[in-house]
């Protein structure tokens, strides 16, 4: 972990004091995506009173934060980071989160649903649906209400899932944080309708037009540090119903007959460790990951146990106020 701490501090140095010229230009299509995202972020900073960045520590959040650091340079992003902590994130994620926020001097707000903790909600006993509903969706709603955010950046991409392909970049939420897919505001050119009434809010998705491959290529070309769990290493896992789960701490409930084995694994997405499947991989560098991406045959969300039930499930969750 000391490697990643040094990398993050070094990274933060890029945005303080003199700018660091790039050694080679960005690929043209990444440059276009970057400019589009920066434009979106500046619109939010200019038009909303209480914006926030929903920060989930994963690779998409890493890119989103990186773009924000660029968008407002030499100023710092004029909004805090909000993390919704379920209490079950990988330990490496929390270390990365706290080190990065501190190195950059950004305000990090962490929301945990204490009510859910008291009720003993956890991914093992409560099941993934209830756990996600209480510890993630409700916690997010609580954070939105507590801080009265009027705009919240999310790192969702349109290539992730079918219902996201139809969502606007500026996505209106009513006072109950619900999304109405049939009544979305038309979104033309680069002109965004930012008007809302008290209690309503807008989710803003600056990475809408990025694909998973774009994200990795950008991380590679712009040298953005990511949580080490994305890179292959020997880690303790159990295989359960065809999914490789990492035993990240001693709260992991082993079934009868299960013994953690050390395997060379990595993660394509990061969430709650008991709900996130790993893949066996030798990709220990960013170059290796991109190489693996180019030949990958399964989509990234398939590693998430919450999307599985049926293909309309994400739309349902979004209507209820999920990211």
């Amino acid at each position: 972990m000391s490697d990643i701490k040094a990398a993050l501090e070094n990274y933060a140095g890029r945005f303080s004091g003199a700018a660091h010229p790039r050694s080679r230009p960005l690929s043209p299509h990444l440059k276009a995506l970057e400019a589009e995202s920066i434009h979106i972020m500046r619109e939010v900073a200019a038009e909303f009173e209480r914006p926030v960045m929903l920060y989930s520590i994963g690779k998409d959040s890493a890119v989103m934060l990186h773009l924000a650091l660029k968008a407002f340079y030499p100023s710092r992003p004029p909004f805090p980071l909000q993390h919704v902590d379920t209490g079950w994130k990988f330990r490496d994620m929390i270390t990365y989160r706290d080190t990065l926020a501190k190195a950059l001097g950004l305000e990090l707000r962490v929301e945990m649903n204490e009510e859910g903790v008291k009720r003993g909600i956890n991914p093992f006993d409560s099941g993934s649906n209830l756990h996600t509903q209480v510890m993630k969706t409700e916690a997010l709603r609580n954070a939105m209400n507590r801080h009265r955010y009027d705009a919240a950046f999310g790192g969702a991409r349109r290539d992730e899932e079918k219902s996201r392909a139809k969502e606007r970049i500026f996505s209106f939420r009513d006072a109950h944080h619900a999304w109405d897919p049939r009544n979305q505001r038309p979104e033309l050119w680069r002109t965004f309708n930012t008007r809302i009434k008290a209690g309503e809010s807008i989710r803003v998705f600056p990475l809408s037009n990025w694909t998973e491959l774009d994200i990795w290529q950008y991380i590679l070309e712009d040298d953005i540090p990511i949580v080490p769990l994305y890179l292959a290493a020997d880690r303790p896992v159990v295989e359960r119903d065809g999914t490789l789960l990492m035993v990240d701490d001693d709260r992991f409930r082993l079934h009868a007959g299960e013994t953690p084995q050390i395997r060379r694994i990595r993660f394509r997405t990061l969430g709650c460790y008991p709900l996130t499947g790993a893949i066996e991989s030798d990709a220990a560098s960013l170059e290796d990951i991109v190489l693996e991406m180019l030949t990958a045959r399964t989509s990234e969300r398939s590693g998430r146990l919450i999307d599985h039930d049926e293909s309309g499930s994400m739309e349902k969750k979004k209507r209820e106020g999920y990211f």
């Binding site: 299509h29 349109r158 392909a165 002109t191 045959r297 399964t298 309309g312």
Partner: protein, 633 residues
């Protein structure tokens, strides 16, 4: 191949020597022409579908599919919303992505039905190219013409006529040519830079990635080859005059003041002179700042922060521009409007106009003509309904900096937002400014409003009494005016009796006439305020938007909205003019509170419940309000 070679091959493929950036395109056409199938095919052939996505697709195809046994219904990949899958139609724009070694593609799959024209325009507004699909069996349809027109109107420069389902038209060359010549008769009048006809079968993949064996007679490119090679406007936009709308003023400390924005056209280098379009002030570029270091120059598409060599007045909404080729600055202009709301457009009603970072109240002054998008003919009209297009003149409360849309998409476009529902109600493409009008209002007169105000010993303003017929508006207004006169104040009162018979004699009671009625009253009230008077206005004025319009005409604090609130039953019981009786008998149509809605004020300065107090008590409350707001001492 050795492993190291494979890796360097992949990485060089990734950094793509031939990277031509991003091409954005839309697919459009009639309902069953196979748009979603085509995009599904593009994703499938570019090997971008993963095994689990294909498995889901195969499962969904069995459940909802319409393409028969053993074929994959690619449309199901795209129709992402549950309602769409059930109804088998596409109701909203879906954005999809694929890439080849040459380009990244962003595809907007847009709906075919006429009631979703606004969604199509949404997709088209950022697209470089339109694929217009035609079913080989059906040929050019009304929808084909409409979509072609909208694509062109939204500024798309390249059209592809994809004649689809050639497999069920026997791959007939003559049928293809027949459709192409039909189409060109329509489309050639519109001025696309290129129109490329390609015969395809999206279901079987003919002429999509690979040339079709069944149509060896086709001597043009495959669809993909064309998409990979077509030149986007990027180069051309970079050669136009410099524009950068200011989004955000970057001020980390007292030593740094920069203007952040995206260059929308042209290029700029350190040392170049710029003008801030709204203020007309010039300065030179000292630095072009980015997090990747200062840049010697920036071109269209770049997001940068510009530092100037001297302090000039620039804020969000202003446009930094080439001083030798400035944007127009005017409060009035002609524009093509696409109406996107259920509620129809009413001339005179106040909307919020958003253009880049600029936002100002604006209204449509006249609808010059509507456009029949099916025949491309001009038609007369007085208002625009959902999905209708018209050429209008607009008047904004503040001057706006802009370019004609035909020259500059980003600085030539705007949206209109309803000020109460906050819905985006229209997309506007500016044609030209009405310069003459912009010079009229600037004559400063020696005797002005404040001087007249001082002479009369009062602050002028408008007391706007709104409420149902019979609520007590005129009664209270009369009492208020009497009390003011007794105190030596200067007043005037406007109501239906002195306005409807003269100034507005020509107006009826349709929604459009009601809007115009209030607009004229507002203008007259404003003149009286200018003359130093306290004006009482008693009008049902049922629409929030019109009351807001009058509010916008006046300075802050000069418009006092008094909601005269009585229950409808009480008003019917009072019925001072016998109007409810007539309405009940069907002798009057569109009577407010009866068969026409009354929109209650959301935040009136004063709310009088006249069922619970006497008229005199109500009038006293109004006087107190005037004192509170400082109009009288």
């Amino acid at each position: 191949m050795a492993e190291g070679d494979a890796r360097s091959a992949v990485l060089s493929r990734l950094t793509r020597a031939g990277d031509k950036g991003v091409l954005r395109f839309i697919t459009c056409g009639s309902v069953d022409d196979g748009k979603s199938t085509l995009i599904g095919r593009l994703l499938y052939d570019s090997k971008l579908l993963f095994e689990d996505q294909i498995a889901t697709l195969q499962r969904d195809s069995k459940k909802h599919g319409t393409t028969g046994e053993n074929t994959m219904d690619f449309a199901l990949l795209l129709d992402g919303l549950e309602a769409e899958r059930e109804q088998g139609i596409t109701i909203d724009v879906a954005y999809r992505f694929f890439n080849t070694e040459k380009r990244k593609f962003v595809v907007a799959d847009t709906p075919g039905h006429e009631q979703y024209t606004r969604n199509m325009a949404t997709g088209a507004s950022t697209a470089d190219l339109a694929i217009i699909l035609v079913d080989a069996r059906k040929g050019v349809l009304t929808q084909t013409r409409r979509h072609t027109y909208i694509a062109n109107m939204m500024g798309i420069r390249h059209a592809v006529l994809a004649v689809n389902k050639m497999d069920v038209a026997e791959y007939s060359r003559s049928r293809f040519h027949e459709i192409v010549s039909d189409y060109l008769r329509v489309a050639e009048t519109l001025g696309f830079d290129s129109i490329t006809p390609i015969p395809i079968s999206a279901l079987h993949g003919d002429n999509i990635f690979a040339p079709s064996k069944a149509m060896s007679w086709h001597d043009g490119p495959t669809l993909l080859a064309h998409l990979e090679s077509v030149e986007t406007a990027t180069e051309e936009v970079a050669s136009r005059p410099f524009r950068m709308p200011v989004q955000w003023v970057n001020r980390p400390n007292l030593d740094f003041r920069g203007f952040s924005g995206a260059v929308t056209s042209g290029r700029i280098a350190a040392g170049d002179e710029i003008v801030a379009a709204l203020s007309g002030k010039t300065a030179n570029v000292a630095r072009i700042v980015t997090a990747d270091g200062d840049q010697p120059e920036a071109v269209a598409g770049d997001a940068v922060t510009i530092v100037l060599d001297r302090d000039i007045d620039v804020s969000r909404g202003d446009v930094l521009a080439d001083p030798k080729a400035r944007p127009e600055v005017s409060g009035q202009f002609a524009a093509e409007l696409l109406w996107m709301a259920e509620e129809e457009m009413l001339p005179g009603r106040s909307y919020l106009l958003k253009a880049g970072g600029q936002a100002t109240p604006a209204s449509v002054t006249t609808l010059k003509h509507k456009l029949n998008v099916n025949t491309f003919e001009k038609e007369p009209g007085t208002s625009l309904k959902l999905n209708e297009i018209g050429v209008c003149t607009l008047a904004a409360s503040r001057a706006v900096a802009f370019d004609p849309y035909a020259d500059q998409r980003d600085t030539g476009s705007f949206i209109l937002v309803d000020r109460f529902t906050n819905q985006t109600v229209a997309a506007g493409m500016i044609e030209f400014g009405l310069r003459r009008a912009s010079n009229v209002h600037t004559h400063a007169m020696d005797v002005d409003k404040s001087r007249r105000s001082v002479m009369k010993g009062q602050k002028p303003g408008v007391l706007w009494f709104t409420g149902l017929s019979g609520a007590g508006k005129s009664t209270i207004a009369n009492l208020v005016e009497r009390k003011l006169a007794e105190a030596g104040r200067h007043t005037y009162s406007l109501d239906g009796d002195n306005v409807r018979h003269g100034l507005n004699r020509d107006l009826g009671f349709t929604d459009a006439d009601r809007v115009e009625n209030i607009r004229r009253i507002g203008e007259v009230a404003r003149l009286f305020v200018d003359a130093g008077l306290i004006v009482t206005c008693s009008f049902i004025s049922p629409f929030r938007a019109e009351r807001q319009m009058v509010r916008d005409m006046l300075d802050d604090g000069s418009f006092i909205e008094v909601f005269v609130d009585a229950p409808l039953e009480l008003c019917i019981q009072r019925d001072p003019k016998g109007l409810y009786k007539k309405a009940q008998a069907g002798e009057i149509k569109n009577f407010t509170g009866f068969d026409s809605p009354y929109e209650t004020p959301e935040a009136p300065e004063l709310h009088l419940r006249t069922g619970e107090m006497s008229a005199d008590e109500a009038a006293e409350q109004v006087i107190e309000q005037l004192i509170r707001q400082g109009l009288i001492g």
